[in-house]
């Protein structure tokens, strides 16, 4: 079952990972010319409002360096695009089978619902790890060719999005249990990925909305901790992981109670 899951989700993986890899490669190719005009860029960045710089962590890192780009725009791209990809995967991996009627084939085989869910989750987990590995490897090669960089910082920047992707994947899977149509479930899940990012921006830019940051999963893997302290905020990672575990418990329970869409 897992083999089949991996096979049918392979195409989506190559497309989404491919887009990000191509973007990274392009950035690394044009980076030498950006680096030459580093001072002009810093002047340009300095003209932005402080709050906006904070949103993208540009206030604490030099965007004119390759690692600076990876830790700001690159990181954001991996978080959001990866978030959208795994939200789509999560919202369709079971619902698509219901939509197309193939789920009754699985339900009548001598396997439990938990086993079906296990294989779907394992498939997602494998692609989440592969996705972050491929992008991490691309950025490693790019950074190595661009000059010296902190290995530990690169490692943490490459690992952190994995927790966010896992969160969005499981959350989207849980939400899909309550929908009948793949399209609607997909739109809702993408909405959650974008919506929580907007919450993150608003909470960073507006003091009165600062409390909202706890409602955005992006806050829990903020690259700020990596750039400033050279480590992840482990308590935040723990909170995000616990939320994922709670979602997983809810998911197994909801899936076992779910009945075939009439």
């Amino acid at each position: 079952m897992l083999k089949r899951e991996l096979k049918i989700n392979r195409r989506g993986f190559f497309i989404w990972a491919g887009i990000i890899v191509v973007m990274f490669v392009v950035v690394f190719l044009v980076y030498p010319s950006i680096a030459k005009s580093e001072k002009d860029m810093m002047d340009l960045v300095a003209a932005f409002p402080k709050e906006l710089l904070e949103v993208f962590n540009m206030d604490i890192i030099n965007i004119g360096t390759a690692f600076g780009w990876i830790a700001t725009e690159g990181y954001m791209m991996v978080m959001i695009m990866g978030g959208c990809y795994f939200a789509i995967m999560g919202s369709t991996i079971i619902l698509k089978e219901e939509d197309e009627g193939t789920i009754s084939f699985l339900y009548t085989k001598p396997i439990s619902r938990n086993q079906i869910l296990d294989s779907k989750l394992l498939c997602g987990l494998i692609y989440i790890i592969l996705f972050n590995m491929v992008i991490g490897l691309t950025s490693f090669i790019g950074l190595s060719l661009s000059g010296p960089f902190e290995f530990k910082d690169w490692l943490l920047i490459s690992i952190a999005p994995l927790f966010l992707h896992l969160f969005f994947f499981t959350l989207s899977l849980l939400l899909s249990i309550y929908y009948k149509k793949t399209r609607k479930s997909m739109m809702i899940s993408i909405g959650v990925v974008i919506g929580t990012y907007i919450i993150q921006i608003l909470s960073t830019m507006t003091d009165s909305l600062k409390f909202l940051k706890y409602f955005s999963p992006y806050e829990y893997i903020n690259a700020r901790d990596i750039v400033l302290n050279h480590q992840l905020n482990y308590s935040n990672i723990l909170i995000l992981s616990m939320m994922t575990v709670i979602i997983l418990i809810g998911l197994y329970d909801a899936y076992n109670k779910k009945e075939l869409n009439a």
């Binding site: 079952m1 089949r4 049918i8 197309e100 009627g101 193939t102 009754s104 084939f105 339900y107 009548t108 085989k109 001598p110 396997i111 439990s112 619902r113 938990n114 076992n256 109670k257 009945e259 075939l260 009439a262």
Partner: protein, 290 residues
């Protein structure tokens, strides 16, 4: 073999099936008939745990049939009325995928079924006609030699030749002692292969009958053409009226035809036709709206 006890299923407030109890013996071919929307598919979905029961229980070999009971699920073969399979697979890949869920080696049996139903293993599922998908569905239902077969409108979409092959396969299953739950709206099919039949209407069981007993009943379809037929005092309790106008009446008579002829003697008859009714015609009164 299969026991359904007081099965009730409501879709929110809408009745699917209510208080249905059936007891199907090992090796029995059990017909389950009713018009569209009567609750046939709901019953099947409950047996297979595709939907949750509102109340009631289903047992197979004395064990409750729950959605995670692998041992029992391994012994069930299911053919849905509409067979939905993975479009990206070839027929062979689909069969191999299905076989991967079973512990025993079923390759020999699969080969036999593929040959019998004349399936092209190299074709992709999305290239198959409706009839060929149904044939593949039959192979998928039978390939692991189940002890209980649940068939939902199994012959729909099959051409007459392949229907014959299907009935041959059912005969083979019967000889092997497989229990078959056969849902259909085609009563002639049911009469042909089933031992018993349950009639379901508006979510309720109307009656369960032995086919052999049913065949023993002396039913006659009478078409009487006469302007005077209204003068007749027909024994209404033995009659199911099918059609009626000023000059004719058509009805099923449930008793010995000689007893009817005594009544008919009293009027002038223009024409009289006495036929053996089809099973559909006998059950017509069950299907009529109340």
């Amino acid at each position: 073999m299969l026991k359904i006890e007081k099965l009730t299923k409501y879709y929110k407030d809408i009745l699917g099936i209510e208080d249905l109890s059936l007891d199907i013996k090992k090796g029995e071919i059990f017909g389950f008939i009713g018009p569209n929307g009567a609750g046939k598919s709901t019953t099947i979905k409950c047996i297979l745990n595709l939907i949750n029961k509102t109340s009631g229980s289903i047992y197979m070999d004395g064990q409750e049939l729950t959605k995670d009971n692998y041992q029992l699920k391994e012994m069930i073969g299911y053919l849905p009325s509409e067979v939905d399979l993975y479009d990206d697979f070839t027929v062979k890949e689909m069969l191999d995928y299905s076989a991967s869920f079973y512990q025993k080696d079923i390759s020999k049996r699969t080969k036999y079924l593929v040959k019998k139903l004349d399936l092209d293993l190299t074709k992709k599922i999305d290239e198959l006609s409706f009839g060929n998908i149904k044939k593949l569905g039959i192979v998928l239902a039978l390939m692991h030699e189940p002890k209980l077969l649940v068939l939902d409108e199994p012959t729909s979409g099959l051409d007459p030749l392949k229907q014959e092959v299907f009935f041959e396969l059912m005969e083979e299953e019967k000889e092997k002692g497989t229990t078959i739950f056969f849902s259909s709206h085609n009563l002639n099919e049911v009469r042909r292969i089933c031992d018993s039949v349950a009639i379901i209407k508006n979510g309720h069981l109307v009656e369960t009958l032995k086919i052999a007993k049913l065949n023993k009943f002396d039913f006659n379809l009478i078409s009487l053409y006469s302007k005077e037929y209204k003068k007749l005092k027909l024994p209404m309790k033995d009659i199911i009226i099918k059609k009626q106008s000023d000059e004719m009446i058509q009805f099923i008579y449930q008793k010995d035809i000689n007893s009817l002829l005594d009544f008919l003697n009293t009027i002038k008859i223009d024409n009289l036709l006495i036929e053996k009714p089809s099973l559909e015609e006998i059950f017509f009164h069950y299907y009529k709206e109340d």
